[in-house]
Structure formats: C-alpha cells, structure tokens
Symmetry: C2
Subunit: 241 residues, 2 copies
Amino acid sequence: MEPRIIEEACARCKDHCCTRCLNDGELNIFNCLTKEELELLVKEKRHVHFKAGETILKQNTSASHIVCIRSGLAKIFAEGEGDKKLILNLVATHSILTGGGIFMDEIRQFTVQAVTEVDCCFIYSDKIFELVSKNSTFAFQLLKLNNRQNIRMLNNLVGITQKYMPGRVADLLLYLKNEIFQSNPYDTRLSRQELADMTGMTMESFIRILKEFKSSAIIAVEGSNIHILDEDALIILGKKG
Amino acid sequence: MEPRIIEEACARCKDHCCTRCLNDGELNIFNCLTKEELELLVKEKRHVHFKAGETILKQNTSASHIVCIRSGLAKIFAEGEGDKKLILNLVATHSILTGGGIFMDEIRQFTVQAVTEVDCCFIYSDKIFELVSKNSTFAFQLLKLNNRQNIRMLNNLVGITQKYMPGRVADLLLYLKNEIFQSNPYDTRLSRQELADMTGMTMESFIRILKEFKSSAIIAVEGSNIHILDEDALIILGKKG
DNA sequence: TTATAAAATTGACATTTATCAATGTTTTAT
DNA sequence: ATAAAACATTGATAAATGTCAATTTTATAA
C-alpha cells in the first residue's frame, strides 16, 4: 500500500531537485537546509513513479513518509462510509504531501491518488523529524506549509457546506484556473465524477450545473477542457452561494 | 477587535499556569520549555477575561497572538457570506487557540467567541516564533498540536458533506459527550442555533431531528441539557450517514 | 410580578439535490 | 474496424433540506 515501486535511490536527485521543490508559490521549504542536511535528505530519498489511477498514499495506513511531487497531478481525498469520496485538494508539480497526519498518530488521514502519471520522491518522516529538531527555520517553514494546506482545505469545505451547487461549481472552476492550471482554457484531465467529488455533489448534478453555465455562455466545455468566458459571472455566483 | 480588556500582566500566571495548559488530552506543549523560555513566555503574557458572547478573536484581523483558555467554553467558527456561520470546533479549558492562520499570512481564518465566561491568556505570536526557533521540541509539539486541531476540523467537515442530517446530529451528540463535556447528561450551554451551526443545517431542521431522537427514546432533552440514552443507536446512525 | 424580548417549536410549503433508469458518446482492446 | 467497456448526458421522480409564518415556551428587565 505504501510505495508500490521503490526505484533506485534517487539518482536524478543528486542534482538537488529538492532545491527546486516549491509549494504554492511560496519559497522552497528545503532552501533553509545546510548542505549537510540536504545530503542527509537526498541520501535516503527514493524516487517512485506512478501510473494514472494508482494510489500513492492510502488513508488509514501508517504515515512513514512524506512525498514530494516532481511532476504530474494527484488528488487528495477522504474516503467515507460506502464508497463516498470527497476530493479535498489537487496537488501538482513541486507540491509536498503529508497525507494529513504525519504529525498526528502517524496515521494517514487521506488517500492520495495519481490523476496523470506522477513522478515523486519518498522521504522518511524520521528524516523530516530529525531536520525539524536540527533546524528551526525548517521547522517553521514546515509548520507554515502544513498549516497553509490545511487552511485551504478547510476553507474549501466551508464553502461546500454553505453554498448551493452553482456557487460550488463556480468556485471550483475558478480554483482550477487560478490555482491548479494557471491558464484559461485548461484541460482538467479529470472525469466528471472527479469534478463532482471536489464539490460534494453527484455527477449528475454537476453535469447539470455545467450545462447551465454553458447555455448561459459563462463557460465553454469540450470534454475535459474548460474555457472560462465570463469570469465575473463565476465570481458573482461564487460570492452569492 | 483584538483583546478587548487587557488586564494586568498575568499575576496569577506567576504560578506557571502554562505548565498545566494541556490540550486534547495530549501532553502540554509548554512542558518542553526550559525555565528561561517559560519565563520569557510568562513575562509577556496577558490575562484577559471575556463575558459570554464576546468575540475573542475575529476572522480577517491580523493574527498577532495565540490564546490559551484557562477556563470556560468558546466556539470557533467560519463566517461566510450573508450571516452564514459554521461552527468548526468548540474549545474548552486548557485549549490553545491559533485562530487558524498564525502561520499563514498572519491573518485569522476564523472567529472565536466566548460561549460561557472565558478566562484566557494572550501570548504574542512573536514570542511563539522565537521559541520555535530556539527549541525544536517545542516546534515539533506545536506542529503536532496545530495539525491535530486542523485534522479534527477537516474530518468533521467531511462528515457534514457526506452524511444526511440524522447522521450529523448523531455525530455531534457523541462528540459533545466524548470530547467536550466528558459526562453523560451534559449541559451544552449552546442554543439550538449554535448546535445547528455545528452541523451545517438550519435550526428548524436540527430541532426536528432532535425531536425524532427524543421520540425514539435515543436521547432525553431538557433545555440545553442532553442525556444520551441509547449510545449504540447514535453510533449506528453516525456510521450509516 | 408583569411586560417584553428572545429562543424554541411546529406546520405548510417550496426548493434543492439525489436517485434511478435510459440513452448517447467516447475510449479501449481485440 | 468492431465489440466491449467506461464515461457522459438526459429525463422523470423521490427524498432531503430549507424557508416562511405562526405559536409556544423560556429568559430578562422594569
């Protein structure tokens, strides 16, 4: 359930890919490490490749690693009773995954699954803890990173509980454009079911809202390719709930 | 909007109340501080008293302090568009509040409001940051604490998005008994509206579910006093969604 | 204590959202 | 190229939840 295919000790990482591993447009949390500390990290790091659909981290397994995404797109979701899924977040290139609970009971709170092919690095939590105690700047950066990710998910969920479906879909479309793909016609690579799972509604309901937006000329949709035509309308819909 | 009444530099804290400030049944995060570090904390600490209903921390204000609750009950909630409130968590004696975003943009993500009278200590974030860089054990403890609180709120919200109303109410009643009041007939001191705000539903809907539980002899209700009669039934309801 | 306000409850009804089944479309494997 | 599977769409309908208004109960202040 943990790293399916542990490949070689990350050869390519000798070039210190960690130093380029950004998150959320923030400064790299590994930048504050000394050369020795970085060596420690790189030495133990494992490079793993996942095909689309494979599970990277599984909810309720023990949290022994953190994962850095080198390339690709993955989804973080909570598995509820009876096949219920709620996608909490998408993570793309240069993101860092803690799986929810590295710092709590050492049990993963969420599942992470590859949406596209994903190339990533597995780092033992132990190493991270070691660095936290050695380097306080690193500790602080990690605290910030962790908090930022959680807050984003919380705010997203608050929206889901407070807004009607059109508002939720509007928020999602804007989020995908602004935060994940950062381009306007964007190709989600996500199924309708997955998009619906990001908004806490059924696929059928999601499709209906999308259809309404299409016929109101707010967006254009071609398969998994979405083009926002009237961003202001979406913003208003999102505000209104 | 910040500390309404800053009283004297916390006289009573000379007895190192911090060393008794537990959270969530976990070990005290201040325990790992040296005597000097604790002095630093206590010297700058302010003791503040709030009446029921007063706002302790306000969403969207700048996050200059963390707060430790010495006694009383407070609610953490997200304020949405148009008076919409969602109570994310209750915090009782010996809890530590970060207000959501001390480590992120320094803006509070949530509002914290006193439910009963609340006695608490305000500590500058700067002092906390200073301690994080001085003491790595403290950094790690804080990381854990912060993460645990966020995960709890996330899991709660996931439940709200995935379950029908009876399941949500069942979860809430069990949560109040097990985590907050730790006794069986318990007095919530919360209005129906507040209880409803913890489940993301309207007050009227909440009351109806409560009534159903009452007529099924699952609970007994007397004002804000709730007695769980058939805990198993609630557990099943919570699982089923 | 009484008047007044606030909170809780109930009912009727409207709206939102999910469910189920049928059909069309695209992708995948032979 | 064709069959099979997976995915997407649509419609009809049922269930869940919210809204609004009226009423009762409880708390509060003069």
